[in-house]
């Protein structure tokens, strides 16, 4: 029997992706899930004895604080990315000609270097005798160098810096699709700019706002090297907690339990995102535009 070559190619490529996801995502996740219910071993990483203790430990106020802190910093990062990214994406979508490509290039350039190296650059800028302090002193705004590095603010600055492109690109995609004629229609009906922004532009670009926020918020929760380098020992976040449990404290079961909680939180957000997209696309289909 002859097999349709297109058909077999489809199965081959889909199979390859499933194999890849299975081997490198599903299997590690199952291992993590298993480990989170096991005990810490004296000589081995894990002892094969069932326990719920790892999950109970998370409810210790110290760790709840870490969760709260992480959510707070990730939320702040998302907010600042949105505030900075929205006007920029709007400009990007409305500018025509050669400047558009130049501006798009600015968004993409950071991807050309490792974000770890860029974070070290932030250290140089923010440290006590760094670029920022020298600049502020030169301006005469401050007399003595101030503490910039190793503060929660430095962590947010670093996270915003690293994650901004992930906010700008989805925003740009939806704002570019925004029909300018709807804005004209709103003006025609007497709406001023503020109202047009809140009742037309924001609702219609909501899919981009949600997508961008997801793409910033989720990595911000788990990024451990930025809080490590810019926040010092003070800002312990979920990412750092997990990293510490696996690499320093050698408490794999607890690290696994924290990871599972993080995965669950992210999944919940993704499900919410999925439903918001579903609702939005129902509204927009078929409109004669």
């Amino acid at each position: 029997m002859r097999v349709n070559p297109l058909f077999s190619f489809k199965w081959f490529s889909a199979g390859l992706i499933w194999f890849w996801l299975g081997l490198f995502v599903l299997v590690p996740l199952l291992m993590l899930l298993t480990a989170s219910f096991l005990q810490r071993g004296e000589t081995e990483f894990v002892k094969f004895a069932f326990t719920l203790e790892n999950y109970q430990r998370i409810f210790n106020p110290i760790y709840l604080d870490v969760f709260w802190n992480s959510f707070y910093l990730a939320a702040m990062t998302t907010l600042f990315c949105l505030l900075l990214g929205y006007p920029f994406a709007f400009l990007l979508a409305r500018v025509t000609g050669k400047y558009k490509h130049l501006l798009l290039l600015f968004v993409i350039i950071p991807f050309w270097t490792s974000s770890l190296i860029r974070t070290y650059a932030m250290v140089i800028i923010l440290k006590t005798n760094g670029v920022m302090n020298s600049f502020l002193q030169w301006l005469g705004l401050i007399q003595e160098p101030i503490q910039l590095l190793y503060t929660p603010a430095a962590v947010v600055v670093g996270l915003v810096y690293s994650l901004l492109p992930f906010m700008v690109l989805p925003l740009y995609a939806t704002i570019e699709k925004l029909d300018i004629r709807l804005i004209e229609a709103a003006k025609d009906l007497g709406a001023r700019n503020v109202r047009i922004f809140w009742s037309i532009i924001i609702p219609l670009t909501m899919p981009g706002i949600i997508a961008g926020s997801m793409l910033v918020f989720l990595p911000a929760l788990g990024m451990f090297y930025i809080p490590d380098l810019l926040g010092g020992a003070k800002a312990l976040l979920i990412g750092n907690l997990i990293q510490n449990q696996f690499l320093s404290a050698r408490d794999w079961p607890f690290g696994a339990a924290v990871s599972i909680i993080l995965v669950l939180v992210m999944s919940l957000l993704l499900v919410l995102y999925y439903f918001s997209i579903l609702r939005n696309s129902n509204n927009r289909d078929k409109v004669g535009l």
Binding site: D179, R181, L182, E184, A185, A186, K187, D188, L189, G190, A191, R192, R195, S199, I200, P203, L204, N282, N283, R284, D285, K286, V287, G288, L289
Partner: protein, 373 residues
């Protein structure tokens, strides 16, 4: 106080050095249904955008109710637009779309509901108030767009080819509905279209536009029966255009040589001897006679039937004149005239009542831009 709601005075508009409108003068009376008719790119939509406030004139003045509009933003003009694409807000229900204008004007909440439902009832959509625009058909979306504009009781309603996306039958229905709506509301309508039939059937007056200028402004009857340029004649309806030369001018009459024949007609435009002229004849104004019916009264032309096209209510004939030129003639079925039986190859006379023709001086640019409506 005068009754002009809109005055354009010497209005020009150019984009990147390209002139789109050239010295437009136009006055529109309160309660009038005025149509801007012309091919795409003639500047008709630009006039609407100038009135709505989305463009500012490069020179000239736009007055609305006697007030200069130069510094007035679109949101402050008492004018509403029905957009070609409808531009309904896709994230809002039909009700919220229509309520958008009243809400902004600060109409009390209870009153908004009454006004919106009244507007929706007017376009027969009150039962669909909760739907989203995406759940409506094209014709229904069109009606919402009209309700959304009319609910604000504008001084002037601008309609930018609002029927072009609808199918033929629905378009016919909406034409009648729009005309009735306009009469009932008494609002000034400015309607943009490239469809001459639509323009003729709906308007009080038509401004035929070409290349940034108003070629002719007049009632539909006036535009159709006495076009003042070849462009108007070609664009509005079908015309046979014959070229002739004046050979004699008498009191009140002019004699011309035309298609190997000498024809005498009324001298309406002060023609001079040896001037070149265009004779315009509408196909339905030509009456076709068999040769055996005898020679008809002047004026007439002589030729052979080349094609007979049966149209149901009419028969269209293509006649090859003795001079070689082809003309079209439309014959109506008539109970009193049983012999509407034309055969190809038959020799016939095509005559018309003197005065039903239009006679124009020939234009230098006559051959440059043939336009089909």
């Amino acid at each position: 106080m005068n009754d002009l709601v809109i005055e354009l005075k010497q209005v020009s508009k150019s984009f990147d050095g390209v002139a789109i409108l050239k010295n437009i003068d136009l006055e529109i009376k309160k309660g009038e249904f005025l149509t801007l008719l012309g091919p795409s790119g003639c500047g008709k939509t630009t006039i609407l955008r100038l009135l709505a406030g989305f463009e500012t004139p490069s020179s000239g003045t736009v007055l609305i109710n006697g007030e200069d509009m130069l510094q007035i933003e679109p949101e402050d003009r008492h004018i509403n637009t029905v957009f070609q694409s409808y531009a309904l807000f896709p994230h809002m229900s039909v009700f919220d779309n229509v309520a958008f204008g009243p809400k902004i004007r600060g109409v009390p909440k209870a009153e908004i509901a009454t006004q919106v439902m009244d507007a929706l009832r007017m376009v027969k959509l009150e039962h669909l108030a909760d739907r989203k625009p995406a759940q409506l058909s094209g014709g229904q979306q069109q009606r919402v767009a009209i309700a959304r504009a009319v609910v604000n009781k504008p001084l002037v309603l601008l309609l930018d080819e609002p029927l072009s996306a609808l199918d033929y039958k629905l378009r016919k229905e909406m034409q009648i509905e729009l005309k009735q709506l306009q009469r009932r509301l008494g609002i000034t309508f400015i309607f943009v279209t490239h469809d001459q039939e639509e323009a003729l059937s709906m308007s009080d007056r038509i401004a035929v536009m070409n290349a940034g200028k108003i070629e002719q402004l007049g009632t539909p009857k006036n535009i159709y029966e006495s076009p003042n340029s070849l462009f108007v004649a070609r664009f509005v309806g079908e015309s046979n255009i014959l070229v002739g030369e004046v050979i004699k001018v008498g009191d009140d009459c002019v004699e011309m040589r035309l298609e190997n024949k000498i024809i005498s007609l009324k001298n309406t435009k002060n023609f001079q001897v040896s001037q070149s002229v265009n004779l315009l004849l509408r196909p339905e104004d030509l009456h076709v006679y068999d040769e055996d019916e005898g020679i008809p009264p002047e004026p007439y032309l002589h030729g052979i039937i080349e094609e007979v096209i049966y149209k149901g209510t009419t028969v269209d004939l293509l006649i090859r004149l003795d001079s070689g030129k082809q003309i079209a003639a439309t014959q109506f079925f008539n109970e009193d005239d049983p012999k509407l039986d034309f055969r190809m190859g038959e020799r016939v006379f095509a005559g018309w009542l003197e005065g039903w023709e239009a006679l124009l001086p020939s234009e230098a640019a006559e051959n440059s831009a043939p336009v089909s409506p």
